[in-house]
Amino acid sequence: MLLIHCPHCGEGREEEEFSYSGEAHIVRPLAPQDLNDREWGDYLFFRKNPRGIHHEMWYHAVGCRRYFYATRDTLSYEILETYIVGEKPQVTSAGSGQ
């Protein structure tokens, strides 16, 4: 049961208020028509899915209705930071390629 600090509400809120929205920082290709099927499929479906540090999107659905990002350890479930759209994560697993 996660306790998630909503960067907009400024406080830790219970998991039941949020919904998870997958890997963060996947940028939609600017010109999808220029991609071949393989590249487009990669964008659509292929994910990092790391065991460890993961940057992910959460939606404060029953709260401020804002999406934001979290850096979470997918093994310990510890949330190392949350940050708003447009910001970059402070915690990364540099060098691991993930």
Binding site: D37, G41, D42, F46, R47, P50, R51, L75
Partner: protein
């Protein structure tokens, strides 16, 4: 391999069970193998078994980072059925079900496959349309199944609540009599014993830490016991597929999520079938020990922690108490989580990869246990021939690029 039987049990009892043969050897790894199977769960062990048994490839090692059958094989709710919607999935799962039907004898190990039937409940009109569609498809695919009324459901599971006054009353169900449950540990142990007897090396407590490639083809695996060479590497590491794929520089269309389950204290037999409800999110059966075995939905977030969130358990038990009001006073003895690799279309990947000699079998989501024999069978064939088995052909990784998904998830919402 010394065969097990009532007679062998009697004979060994005379000598105070002091002379049983070891169930499998504990070999040191060789320097190289024809095939290395990464992952000693049910699917990996079955793959090794069929490689040896069907294809005569016995110079095989199964490398397991923990103990055999200790991953999802040990953590599921043991439900077996084959009433999937799409032809491709239904045929694969039904191959599996047919193998289950002779598995105890095939392995000379009692996996306790108990065909006490599976009910998939419908609670609204769209559920019932989906059930009709699926059962009709099953029937024309040669898979047993029928649509049953609430009254029939009550006969099959007398404690179920079929009142129309419920929040989501039961309107009907699909019924697959050949479905049921099996003893999960026994499946892993039976395949392991069988594979070992055919010469497969089972290497436990050894973690694969890298996949070595040479000229675009696989050369072997780095492990905590050093490098082990192999012509072919077959990865069957449910719950860790993405991590293993990353070792070969690959990404998969897979996310790993917690899937939770729980058991009650043992109670006297009161539920003689498997009851599943997708609409209210819960499924339940009763083990031969008397435990009510209950499964929940997949947690909402990625996680490798083998535990999920409590509200998922709460929701599941609300569903169970709705379906079986008498179970409200029964108590939860133990709960746990597994890690399931889910594909966007809720179907597995059984596939060659862009690396020669490297194969993946993953993405079974919540449906892996029931597929164990069939998965091993078609994957062994795919690995042995370096060509997809006909029943595996639809399950390549390529489908996520072409768009030819087999959308069990979107289509009928019937997972597990």
């Amino acid at each position: 391999m010394k065969r097990y039987s009532g007679f062998s049990l009697f004979k060994n009892a005379l000598s105070y069970h002091e002379n049983w043969q070891k169930i499998w050897r504990s070999p040191k790894p060789q320097t190289d193998y024809d095939v290395i199977v990464v992952g000693g769960g049910g699917h990996g062990l079955a793959t090794a078994y069929y490689l040896a048994k069907v294809h005569g490839i016995t110079n095989v090692a199964v490398i397991e980072k923990g103990y055999l059958g200790g991953g999802n094989t040990a953590r599921n709710t043991t439900i077996i059925r084959s009433n999937y919607l799409w032809d491709e999935a239904a045929q694969l799962y039904d191959l599996s079900l047919k193998l289950w039907e002779g598995l105890s004898q095939e392995l000379n190990y009692n996996v306790m496959f108990s065909q006490r039937g599976v009910l998939n409940l419908g609670h609204n009109l769209q559920d019932m349309r989906d059930i009709e569609r699926r059962v009709n498809a099953n029937r024309l695919n040669g898979i047993d199944g029928e649509v049953v009324t609430p009254e029939r459901i009550k006969q099959i599971a007398p404690l179920i609540n079929i009142s129309r006054e419920c929040r989501y009353p039961i309107l009907g169900a699909s019924w697959q009599p050949r479905g049921g449950t099996a003893r999960h540990d026994a499946v892993a142990w039976g395949y392991a014993r069988g594979a070992d007897a055919l010469g497969v090396d089972l290497i436990q407590e050894t973690e694969v830490t890298g996949i070595r490639r040479k000229n675009g083809a696989v050369a072997g695996v780095e492990t905590t016991q050093g490098f082990i060479g192999a012509d072919k590497v077959a990865c069957v590491t449910a719950g860790n597929s993405g991590v293993v794929a990353a070792m070969a520089g690959l990404r998969l269309p897979v996310e790993s999520r917690p899937l939770q389950a729980l058991v009650s204290e043992p109670v006297k037999p009161c539920l003689d079938t498997v009851v599943m409800s997708n609409a209210v999110h819960g499924y339940i059966s009763q083990s031969n020990k008397g435990d009510l075995v209950i499964g929940a939905g997949v947690d909402g977030y990625n996680g490798y922690g083998q535990r999920g969130s409590f509200h998922v358990i709460e929701h599941t038990l609300q569903a169970i108490c709705e379906l079986f009001p008498a179970f409200s006073r029964v108590r939860m003895n133990r709960q746990w989580g597994g890690v399931v690799d889910t594909c966007p279309d809720a179907c597995p990947i059984i596939s060659k990869t862009s690396v020669d000699g490297l194969y993946f079998n993953c993405g079974w989501g919540t449906g892996g246990f029931k597929a164990t024999p069939g998965s091993g069978y078609v994957f062994a064939d795919t690995v042995a021939n370096d060509h997809p088995h006909p029943l595996a052909a639809a399950f390549t990784i390529d489908r996520f690029n072409t768009g030819a998904l087999i959308d069990e998830h979107g289509a009928a919402g019937v997972a597990h």
